[in-house]
Symmetry: C2
């Protein structure tokens, strides 16, 4: 199965999750609000190489990292939520773990042997700095909370 097939299926799965989230929001009488891309995601994407084939490998490595961190956060949050949300987060968590592996396998497939490890280490440093520095936003993925004056 090709990269395109895999990414298209992954996109469909993510859209389905989006629809499930919309339903949870509606069921709870909450309203949907558009948010801009987080500093975390923007910061990672800004470090993706600009030309192929490096660009594809980096995009896949960044995808893998975001999925892995989402998986960790869902795992931390699930036990503190009501039963319905805890179960939903548990199901999302399993997808994130699978997507992490999908992205990593694709990155290995579309690069030379040692490149993926080097890029993973590079982006791990980038995300470490993003996660540990003060962030005015408080999000699913953000830095340490900083109060706006």
């Amino acid at each position: 199965v090709s990269l395109l097939q895999k990414m298209s299926r992954l996109a469909r799965e993510e859209l389905r999750h989006f629809e499930q989230v919309l339903k949870v929001i509606a069921d709870r009488g909450l309203s949907y609000e558009t948010v801009s891309a987080s500093r975390y995601a923007q910061g990672l994407h800004a470090n993706i190489r600009r030309t192929e084939p490096g660009r594809l490998v980096d995009t896949l490595v960044v995808g893998a990292l975001i999925e892995a961190r989402s998986c960790e956060r869902f795992a931390k949050l699930a036990p503190r939520l009501d039963a319905q949300l805890a179960e939903f987060y548990g199901s999302l968590l399993k997808s994130e773990a699978r997507h992490f592996e999908d992205y990593l396998r694709l990155a290995e497939q579309y690069s030379n042997g040692t490149e993926v490890d080097a890029r993973l280490n590079y982006f791990r440093d980038v995300e470490g700095a993003l996660i540990e520095s003060p962030d005015t936003d408080f999000r699913f993925h953000s830095g340490t909370p900083s109060l706006v004056a």
Copy 2:
């Protein structure tokens, strides 16, 4: 069901069609090639109003028109293809017809009463000019074929 739910489902259906097309390409030993956006689609999008709520209404009207024209083209092409492709095009055609109505209904829902008709007429003129003028590309949606010197 909200606009977001409907558009997310529609996007999933389109991604599934994309995967079906990839399979047909692979089964026939052809190779996938990236193409830039057609002059037709670009020309329609360039005429979308820049600010809300007009931007949403126009985007939906353009979506409706593209689906309707795709539907017409699939209907014209299907009888000239082998049985397998003819059946596939027939199934796509039914989706396009449904999407045309979905986009139009959403446009009506997110606009005032008479606006949609006026914008449909406007974009019909834009697309008429695009379809009837010479185009160096020969595509599913393009102008009259023009030979490049």
